[in-house]
């Protein structure tokens, strides 16, 4: 789960990490008033669930409240396309107006999980602000990585080594030690899968400050943070993806015409691979979960049919312990409820597969049963001509 920059900064600020004074706005008028409060000279930042905003015109320094208002009007009226949003871009519904801060130096600082060591790792670089991935590729010696032992936690001496490696000295170095320890505490308390400050700056006045912040939470840990569901900005998500989330289905819209309904993420990916191989274009990725139930299959079916691009449906369920006749029943009920006229190919495996096929054949739907994965993919591609 992702949150906006302003929300991340609010959390960091609660952990005594300094952030610029700012105000989040929902209208251009609010932006104008906020800019006035900052004295006119301020930074206007579009809030979207993606990075790369600066180069796409989503972050700008303005000098007058009217200029801030005009910029806000423009940002609210269009979609922002950055290298991380995909070509369709994201709508801007919230704008953060912040005081303009004079910057002396910029750093990169983040904590994320290192899968290779199964530990959280702290990543720091004196080359902040720029594309950190580029730095990591071209000059890896400029990136400092510290794997944190969960039993000892992050210790001050370790944080100090990082702060010194960034070139900080004296009281600034000690401020940075405190900041790094706070960041680790926030990461654990909030169950972050990523917390990133880029750039972390030393201001002209000589303070450390988090100029930008990104935070995402571990989806598995949302249950123990009651405030998280209310922090979601639904304007940043696809409508069908939201509905799918409600039923605990993993759905991702793609740009083809074949709706896919599969149980298990790995099998779902393999299904997309086979369809592409046969010359078909999948309209979505949809995983109803390994143990497909009748209810989930029915809901998934309805979600796929809401997508106007879908011209045919491929159901691939390796039922295993789930009985195929029960799954067939779910498909028939859902298809009848929404009056599905589209061609459907069903590939099922598991117990009671023959009973399942019989039910589908007798259902009156435009449905074909496939013998295996390859056969199913070929059939649906052929049916769509």
């Amino acid at each position: 789960m992702n949150i906006h920059e302003y929300q991340a900064k609010e959390i960091l600020s609660n952990y005594d990490i300094p952030v610029p004074r700012g105000r989040v706005c929902l209208t251009a008028d609010q932006v104008e008033r906020a800019a006035k409060m900052m004295g006119g000279h301020c930074v206007v930042k579009a809030q979207i669930y993606a990075g790369g905003r600066g180069k796409a015109g989503g972050v700008k320094v303005v000098h007058h409240p009217e200029q801030a208002q005009d910029l806000a009007k423009e940002l609210f009226s269009r979609k922002l396309v950055t290298p991380q949003t995909g070509p369709e871009g994201l709508r801007v519904r919230r704008i953060l107006v912040e005081e303009a801060v004079e910057i002396a130096r910029e750093f990169y600082l983040s904590i994320t999980l290192d899968r290779a060591t199964s530990r959280y790792c702290l990543i720091a670089s004196a080359e902040g602000g720029v594309e950190i991935e580029e730095v990591a590729q071209k000059s890896p010696e400029k990136i400092h990585v510290l794997n944190i032992d969960p039993l000892t936690g992050l210790r001050s001496y370790q944080a100090r080594k990082i702060a010194l490696a960034l070139g900080l000295t004296g009281s600034l170095c000690e401020d940075c030690v405190a900041l790094i320890l706070s960041l680790y505490r926030a990461c654990l308390d909030k169950d972050c899968s990523l917390v990133e400050i880029n750039p972390l700056v030393v201001t002209r006045a000589g303070w450390l400050m988090a100029m930008d912040a990104k935070m995402s939470f571990d989806d598995n840990a949302i249950y123990r943070h009651r405030e998280y569901p209310d922090m979601v900005d639904y304007s940043q998500l696809d409508a069908l993806e939201i509905t799918a989330g409600k039923y605990d289905l993993a759905y991702i819209k793609l740009d083809g015409t074949i709706g896919c309904l599969v149980n298990g993420a790995g099998l779902a990916m393999a299904t997309l691979d086979v369809l592409n191989e046969c010359g078909g274009k999948p309209a979505n990725f949809l995983d109803v979960g390994g143990g497909a139930t009748r209810e989930k299959v029915a809901e998934a079916f309805k979600i796929i049919l809401q997508d106007p691009d879908v011209k045919g449906i491929f159901v691939n369920i390796f039922g295993g312990i789930m009985r195929c006749d029960v799954i067939a029943q779910g498909i028939i009920e859902a298809a009848n409820e929404v009056h599905c006229p589209l061609p459907i190919v069903v590939r099922m495996d598991g117990s009671q597969v023959d009973e399942g096929k019989k039910l589908l054949k007798a259902s009156g739907l435009n449905v074909q049963c496939a013998d295996n994965l390859g056969d199913g993919a070929q059939r649906i591609v052929k049916m769509l001509g």
Binding site: L151, R224, N263, M269, F285, I321
Partner: protein, 293 residues
């Protein structure tokens, strides 16, 4: 022979009084697994389906000599359940539970380094030694006793692969679903090592997916150490980059973890990679014909 699990394994089920715990305990027993005990804190003393339930793993081990645990405990208590199994001196824990927070698993992984217990999962289908014992949620009927070791990060895609192997007349020694979470117990290399040392395993089929670098690491290990033929399939060749695919493991980041890179590395290391998920059985046959490259 087999790895990790055989007909003599004595299995206890943590979370046996829950709906899935009980259902799968029954399914495993029907398959032939020796289910000797259940553990649910607060419910010690009762019997479910004729299986005695204990309050703690330690107690269950003392009375039943169980050496393997199958864990169905819900996410908030699952990390604790794994550590309890390790502390009780079990040899193997198979954690089926899906949705354990990463923050809970980081210390578990660190503490397990000091224990002899091996962990499979979490968020996995479990493991099966066909026609002997099953500790997991996979359908037993698709498996057939034989000489192919199977190791996979996926769930239902493993069933697909096993079915193709069985249809191609290739039985399995043991099939291990290692799970798709960012932090798991045994990884590809751990399982490859076990299969390499198992006299009855003649070849290995490996199922990977996009995200992370576990498949690349395994490929390097195969090249350097593996004495037996290996075939593989990697799911997600056509997955759009940078998008989340439901599995925590299935994230393509910063140019790393792409299916094409994984496939290239595996092939460079002598692994036969199926070019389609419909030809996994054929790939295994090809690898057997070619022998250790």
């Amino acid at each position: 022979m087999s790895i990790l699990l055989n007909k003599d394994s004595k299995v206890l089920v943590q979370g046996i009084t829950g709906r899935s715990g009980l259902f799968h305990a029954r399914m495993c027993r029907e398959y032939g697994t020796q289910i000797v005990a259940g553990v649910t804190p607060g419910k010690g003393g009762v019997h479910v389906e004729g299986i005695p339930v204990f309050n703690t793993v330690e107690e269950a081990v003392r009375y039943t000599q169980a050496n393997v645990s199958m864990i169905f405990v819900p996410p908030p208590s699952a990390a604790d359940a794994i550590l309890e199994a390790a502390a009780a001196g079990l040899e193997l824990a198979v954690c089926i539970t899906e949705g354990i927070p990463v923050r809970d698993m980081v210390p578990v992984k660190r503490i397990l380094a000091d224990h002899k217990m091996r962990l499979i999962g979490p968020n996995c289908p479990g493991l099966i030694t066909p026609e002997e014992s099953k500790v997991g949620i996979m359908p037993g009927y698709i498996h057939k006793k034989g000489k192919i070791g199977v190791v996979s990060r996926s769930g239902t895609l493993t069933y697909e692969a096993v079915k193709q192997l069985t249809d191609a007349g290739l039985g399995q020694s043991t099939c291990v679903g290692i799970g798709g979470d960012p932090i798991i117990g045994l990884n590809f290399i751990d399982c490859l090592k076990l299969f390499n040392d198992d006299p009855k395993t003649e070849a290995v089929f490996m199922i990977g997916e996009i995200g992370g670098s576990a498949e690349e690491d395994a490929a390097e290990w195969v090249k350097a150490q593996m004495k037996k033929p290996v075939a593989a399939f990697i799911a997600g060749v056509t997955a759009p980059p940078g998008r989340r695919m439901g599995h925590a493991g299935a994230i393509v980041t910063g140019g790393k973890g792409k299916a094409a890179d994984k496939i290239a590395t595996l092939r460079d290391c002598g692994v036969i990679v199926a070019d389609s998920p419909t030809r996994m059985g054929e790939a295994m046959r090809a690898a057997l014909g070619k022998g250790k490259g």
